[in-house]
């Protein structure tokens, strides 16, 4: 399967006589960024030894009671605000009852009919404009523990470190239509939550997972088709692969005159296929009811307003500001705001430097460097301050763009002050016209044959002369000046 070759904005599945639209909704499970769990004081730190972060509450010992972690509640409300969503002033924790070895209580505390956050929206930036994706709800729930089946052939081992960790389940409306939209939606959600500091968005550590709901319908149909839910997909790439497989599977069934069964499916990442986990008939009856150990959550307006006051500038606002204030293109603004650390870096650089040059250097050289070294911008080997200095040296003509690239490479190793590098390596640009004229004269004298050809109309040779001058100057000649002088002398 080749995801890239498809026309990603107009994703559809074509068969001989029919074209199908794919309708996608996501239930994203985002781990709340919090030191301790939703109903206990155990640590949530990733990667600890199994069963070392488990309290009596997490392991459901007799007589143990959940106590709400206020911080997690605030995190969920902040996320709701970031999703432009309605904050429900009263919400209720329910018990979702089912048996599993890694679910110590025999129920998961979740929110069913009265979630903490109601309807909201997320804006996607598509090449042909913005698209608004509806949010159905956001609710809080506990994570289960982890069953480990591959340590022992006979037994399953259970690690309860995750048991009780706070998750936000963010349910979208079935508004997504393509693999690219899914990609942008997940990235946007992650970006918003990182801005808010409510979820670290780390998919490798399982901080962000999704259940994917997919249905297909013939192009132009108004009614939604029967959907299947693919459980627990943990990367954007796998989501896209699963959706593409599943949509095609459904289309194949419909093309053969069959009907889609509503069911829950699993995505096998090794075989790249989805397979049935349970049908609607076998669906669990979770026997939801309000958890009598917990009082309903009730917020005052003051509580919500206080949180609203402390919401930072979010990507959409920031983008608008970057476009208006810094005259960036929407494309550039998007790139720079999508990650909060990138936007911070950018704003730090432009505080002292030219905006246009800064934008180019960050989205060009710096991104390439980070990409190559597989680093987050927060771990950038070049500080914003030093990059800003480098840009200023280009701007005032101290060095050429080309030299700057060499300096940049040196900086990438040890984050040195570019001014010092230039002085130590003698890379300062030669901008004295008299000195440059001498070099130009030398080049002309030594290449009389080429001069003749040039004058006969071989314009391309101009580059040759520039190159020779640069070579002799050790790359330090001010290219603009060299051009001017050459043009004059070769007339």
């Amino acid at each position: 399967m080749d995801l890239v070759s498809k026309d990603q904005n107009k994703y559809s599945i074509k068969r001989e006589n029919n074209e199908y639209e794919v309708v996608i909704g996501l239930e994203v499970h985002a781990q709340v960024l919090s030191e301790s769990k939703l109903f206990s004081t155990s640590s949530t730190k990733f990667g600890a030894e199994p069963n070392t972060q488990v309290s009596l509450v997490d392991a459901a010992f007799p007589g143990m009671l959940p106590v709400i972690n206020e911080f997690c509640i605030k995190q969920a409300v902040k996320t709701g605000i970031g999703l432009n969503a309605k904050i429900n002033k009263k919400s209720i924790f329910d018990r979702k009852n089912y048996f599993y070895a890694d679910l110590p209580q025999g129920y998961q505390i979740s929110q069913y009919k009265n979630p903490i956050v109601g309807e909201g929206t997320v804006i996607l930036d598509l090449p042909d404009g913005e698209k608004s994706i509806g949010i159905e709800r956001l609710h809080l729930e506990q994570d289960a523990g982890k069953s480990i089946h591959d340590i022992d052939p006979q037994n399953t081992f259970v690690d309860l470190n995750r048991s009780g960790v706070a998750l936000m389940e963010i349910v979208s409306k079935p508004d997504l239509r393509s693999l690219e939209e899914v990609n942008l939606y997940i990235k946007k959600l992650r970006s918003i939550m990182k801005y808010l500091g409510t979820c670290d968005g780390n998919m490798q550590e399982g901080s962000l997972r999704a259940d994917v709901n997919i249905s297909v319908r013939k192009k132009g149909d108004k009614d939604l088709g029967t959907r299947c839910e693919i459980k627990n997909v943990n990367s954007i790439k796998f989501m896209q692969m699963a959706i593409d497989y599943e949509a095609n599977r459904q289309v194949d069934i419909l093309e053969e005159g069959g009907k889609i069964d509503q069911e829950t499916r699993l995505f096998d990442t090794k075989k790249n296929e989805t397979r049935s986990m349970r049908s609607k008939e076998d669906a669990h009856d979770y026997r939801y009811f309000p958890d009598p150990d917990l009082l309903p959550l009730e917020f005052t307006d003051e509580f919500i307003n206080e949180l609203k006051k402390n919401i930072p500038e979010l990507p959409d606002e920031k983008k608008k500001r970057f476009i208006e204030k810094f005259k960036l293109s929407p494309y550039e603004a998007n790139i720079l705001v999508s990650d909060i650390d990138t936007s911070k870096y950018f704003e730090a650089v432009i505080k002292k430097s030219d905006i246009k040059l800064s934008t180019n250097w960050i989205t060009g050289e710096l991104f390439a460097l980070l990409n190559e070294k597989n680093l987050e911008i927060s771990k950038s080997p070049i500080s914003a301050l030093n990059l800003s200095k480098l840009i200023n040296l280009i701007k005032d003509g101290t060095i050429s763009g080309k030299i700057a690239k060499s300096v940049f490479e040196i900086m990438a190793v040890g984050d040195a002050d570019p001014q010092k590098i230039i002085e130590e390596k003698g890379l300062k640009q030669q901008s004295d016209p008299k000195e440059l004229e001498k070099i130009v004269d030398k080049v002309i004298n030594e290449n009389q044959d080429k001069v003749k050809e040039f004058k006969l109309g071989k314009d391309k040779l101009f580059g040759f002369f520039v190159g020779q001058v640069m070579k002799i100057s050790g790359g330090k000649a001010n290219p603009q000046l060299v051009n001017d002088i050459l043009k004059k002398k070769l007339k």
Partner: protein, 484 residues
């Protein structure tokens, strides 16, 4: 000198404070009498050796400032006690030793009390006769083969038989008041939220409350004073201003308005219960209080609503006993089979019955018709009480529709058994406090209890009314130590 075990809790506290008796002597007396009383089957786990050691420790380093200095107390085996086996009367927890202490028992130990042992109870507090316990039924000291009531049957029996100077129980639908009534003792079910539920094996979370069980009302006020505390570890614990219930105890009843609800005059109510109730009404009148006829119109729906809400919560609360983490496990070929074997063998019939009822009423398609409707009924019942409390300060009713029955008499008829809770469950559904005090004896000489129901967090008021009535009733238990 009178027998130590014949003294009341407050008498023991006074004597120990006056250094007339040591903690060791008191503990020894209760241990000895308990050792001689195995026939009653009140203890599931005794802590005698350790209690004696702790009593000596107390005597060597006494602190008479405490409210229960060096006083041994046995508690219902539903309270988790650190390093002492806690079974909830069930096979599924028959090997469970908590590493933690319930808040209520912790409050006792903090005030100088010493754990004497863990008392028998109906399995997971589900029962009204103590016959559902995995550890066998309990005999009532009142008469051979008589049930002590339930679910706090071991507590009531041990208290009445003077195997402990006081005890604590839990009350979900009458589990303190009904056994108190059956054994001629005093039992208080506090307002929901008054005592912490932390560390108490849960039956029905929205109804469970711990409370004191004592020989008289004064002891009740002292023990409640010690037990009752706000606890951040229980989200349903209420942070209201708690009184010093013992110091503020008085017998002023004059001028108080006491309601008599007509709906408690149920069909087929025995003459003896009628007479008992009338006796209570007369005492109230004679004491200068005003008796007011009231109506609690939704009372008849309380029992059915209770038998939906309580099993529903229980079915979920008991899901954690699955053989995976602690307690009894019966192996199976796979996880599901292990669950089935463990829970089939680990739970008794009554517990299974309630898990099934609870699972059923919460099932999709039935939830609205049962659980949701029961919750609405619950609200109506609460409204009934709120309405009458505009006119009265407290309510007087019988505690139970009959005196104690014999072992086996009702064990095959769950509905008849459930009907025993008819006067007590509405109070749990409404979250109100109520105290049962001995009101007299029936023709067989078995005790009968009177229940005084109060307003939310108005325990002091009903304790004081009970104190005044107790004085007039002058009840004496007729226990002849038949088992020794």
């Amino acid at each position: 000198m009178t027998n130590i075990t014949d003294l009341t809790l407050t008498e023991l506290v006074n004597k120990i404070k006056k250094k007339e008796v040591s903690s060791r002597e008191i503990t020894n007396a209760y241990v000895n009498r308990s050792e001689k009383s195995k026939k009653l089957n009140t203890y599931i786990t005794d802590n005698f050796e350790n209690a004696l050691k702790k009593a000596s420790d107390f005597d060597n380093n006494p602190n008479y400032e405490k409210k229960l200095p060096g006083i041994p107390i046995a508690v219902k085996d539903l309270f988790c006690t650190k390093d002492v086996k806690t079974t909830a009367g069930s096979k599924i927890l028959n090997n469970f030793i908590p590493t933690y202490e319930s808040t209520v028992t912790e409050n006792l130990w903090k005030e100088g009390s010493i754990l004497l042992g863990k008392l028998n109870c109906d399995e997971f507090a589900m029962g009204s006769s103590n016959e559902t316990s995995f550890f066998g039924n309990v005999q009532s000291p009142i008469g051979k083969n008589l049930v002590p009531g339930g679910s706090s049957g071991g507590s009531a029996s041990a208290l009445a038989a003077k195997l402990t100077p006081a005890t604590i129980g839990t009350d979900t639908g009458g589990s303190i008041r009904q056994p108190a009534s059956f054994t001629g003792t005093v039992g208080l079910k506090p307002t929901y939220g008054a005592c912490s539920r932390y560390g108490i094996v849960a039956f029905a979370s929205s109804l469970d409350q711990a409370g004191p069980m004592t020989g008289n009302v004064k002891d009740c006020s002292l023990l409640f004073d010690v037990m009752c505390s706000y606890d951040i570890k229980d989200s349903t614990s209420v942070n209201f201003k708690r009184k010093n219930y013992f110091k503020e105890l008085n017998n002023s009843i004059k001028g108080k308005k006491i309601g008599i609800p007509k709906e408690y005059r149920v069909d087929g109510m025995s003459k003896e219960i009628e007479d008992l109730w009338q006796k209570g009404i007369n005492i109230i009148k004679d004491s200068g209080a005003e008796v007011i006829d009231i109506s609690l119109p939704n009372t008849k729906y309380a029992l059915p609503a209770y038998y939906i809400v309580a099993p529903a919560e229980a079915s979920s609360n008991l899901a954690r006993y699955d053989g995976v983490k602690y307690g009894f496990r019966s192996e199976g070929k796979n996880l599901i089979e292990m669950y089935e074997n463990t829970r089939s063998k680990g739970f008794g019939d009554e517990v299974k019955r309630r898990i099934m009822i609870g699972t059923y009423v919460l099932s999709s398609g039935y939830y609205d018709a049962y659980y949701l409707k029961a919750q609405k009924v619950r609200k109506l019942i609460k409204n009934d009480f709120d309405e009458v409390y505009k006119k009265v300060d407290a309510i007087l009713t019988p505690s139970t529709p009959s005196s104690a029955f014999t072992i086996g008499e009702k064990s095959n008829d769950p509905v008849s058994m459930y009907l025993n809770d008819i006067f007590t469950v509405p109070i749990n559904l409404a979250g109100l406090p109520a105290i049962s005090i001995p009101g007299g004896h029936d023709s067989k000489g078995y005790p009968l209890g009177l229940q005084i129901i109060g307003k939310t967090f108005d325990e002091q008021n009903i304790i004081n009314i009970a104190y005044a009535m107790e004085n007039q009733i002058n009840f004496k238990n007729q226990i002849k130590d038949w088992w020794i």
